[in-house]
């Protein structure tokens, strides 16, 4: 990992299997924005989240936002990958919900 980017990983025990679905991508890696990629992780009971961000030192806030997201959806067997360029917590939450809504469509 480069000195400039910070990588964060979260592994949360899920409740509702996401099942199989085509990968979903929402958002764009632009200033104050992020992209969220959702993929099935069949066989896993976890919701795993991998974040790469250019804004270092916000681990505590990421942790809170990710736990919040997980409390809302409690998905299992899902892999969340994020490329972030300094999005605010509210934008991150909205993108995560948007991505889940895309799976359900």
């Amino acid at each position: 990992m480069s000195p400039g980017l910070e990588a964060l990983d979260y592994h949360l025990a899920g409740k509702y299997p996401a099942g199989d679905f085509p990968a979903v991508l929402v958002g764009v890696v632009g200033s104050g924005n992020l992209e969220v990629l959702l993929e099935p992780a069949t066989g896993s009971t976890e919701c795993s989240v991998h974040v790469e961000t250019s804004a270092r030192g916000f681990g505590a806030i990421w942790s809170a936002v990710v736990e919040d997201f997980h409390r809302r959806h409690q998905l299992a067997g899902i892999r969340v990958s994020i490329n972030d360029m300094g999005a605010t917590p509210a934008v991150v939450s909205l993108r995560l919900d948007q991505a889940v809504a895309e799976i359900k469509r």
Partner: protein
């Protein structure tokens, strides 16, 4: 409802411009073919390196398509981004779709990737010219907020056909580059009216650098793309000589001193009706000589 082309992301443009659900992506985000350079510089990568490529149908006909995402690094062409475009064009040479569409939105070479980006853009040009030589129509659509500049501006002008909206911009050096190198007296990059008078879709259409001028609507771009499907324009010596003639004549149109705005003077001398009113007219209201 009219959907603004400029406000859509690259992926939204693909979804709405082509036949519904027909897009099949190659190297999708889940493949994670990302830039080998950006992370070293502390810049986040994008899972698709800022460009989506694949095949689809347009009005039922098979086409290949690439769409650049202007919000990611200004649509800059890095090593992987360029390689995806080249790969798409070379595959088109083999499989011969009815056309290749490039939804361009780019500031040109992604400077972070230096020579790798420069080489990538030159390879894109060569691959696109190979398509033209093979008689496969290449259609470039320009209507994103970031315009089409630098090396991608050259790529666009290598294509058979260019479709632009009045919001779209096409040029080599961008406004800020000109100002930085030649001074604000030469070009004030913050003068938006000046920027659009000299690089915008209306100017490009009036001066013959773009083939179709449309409103900033997805449906209008779709209709223009369909109308361009059979627009292969083979590169011939006679065609090149005509182009040189046109450029030379245009250059000399400004030999006589200009009193006032140079763009309006050029339109006047090109014979554009009511040149003063061009900036305020809708694309459909314009006529070119």
């Amino acid at each position: 409802m009219n959907i603004s082309y400029s406000e859509c992301s690259a992926r939204e443009r693909i979804a709405l411009l082509l036949d519904e659900g027909s897009f099949h992506e190659w190297l999708p985000p889940s493949e994670r073919v990302t830039s080998p350079h950006l992370a070293q510089l502390g810049v986040p990568s994008a899972f698709d390196d800022g460009v989506a490529i694949g095949r689809a149908t347009l009005a039922g006909r098979p086409v290949f398509v690439a769409a650049q995402e202007g919000e990611f690094m200004g649509g800059g062409v890095g090593e992987v981004h360029g390689a995806k475009l080249v790969g798409l064009f070379r595959r088109a040479l083999r499989e011969r779709p009815d056309a290749v569409l490039l939804l361009a939105e780019s500031g040109g070479v992604r400077l972070h990737e230096a020579n790798a980006g420069l080489i990538a853009v030159s390879e894109v040009m060569r691959a696109l010219l190979d398509l033209r030589a093979a008689g496969i129509p290449t259609i470039v659509l320009i209507g994103g907020a970031n315009g089409c500049f630098g090396g991608m501006g050259i790529v666009a002008r290598c294509a058979d056909r260019i479709v632009m909206s009045d919001i779209g911009r096409l040029a080599m050096s961008g406004p800020e580059v000109i100002e930085a190198s030649n001074g604000v007296d030469e070009f004030d990059s913050r003068d938006r009216a000046l920027v659009w008078r000299t690089t915008g879709g209306k100017h490009r259409w009036l001066s013959g650098d773009c083939d179709l001028l449309v409103a900033d609507e997805l449906a209008a771009f779709r209709a223009a793309a369909i109308a361009s499907l059979d627009a292969a324009a083979p590169v011939t010596l006679a065609g090149l000589e005509d182009e040189h003639q046109l450029l030379s004549e245009r250059l000399h149109l400004l030999d006589a001193p200009v009193d006032g705005d140079e763009a309006i003077a050029l339109w006047t001398r090109l014979g554009v009706p009511a040149p003063q009113r061009v900036p305020e007219l809708d694309p459909g209201e314009l006529t070119r000589p």
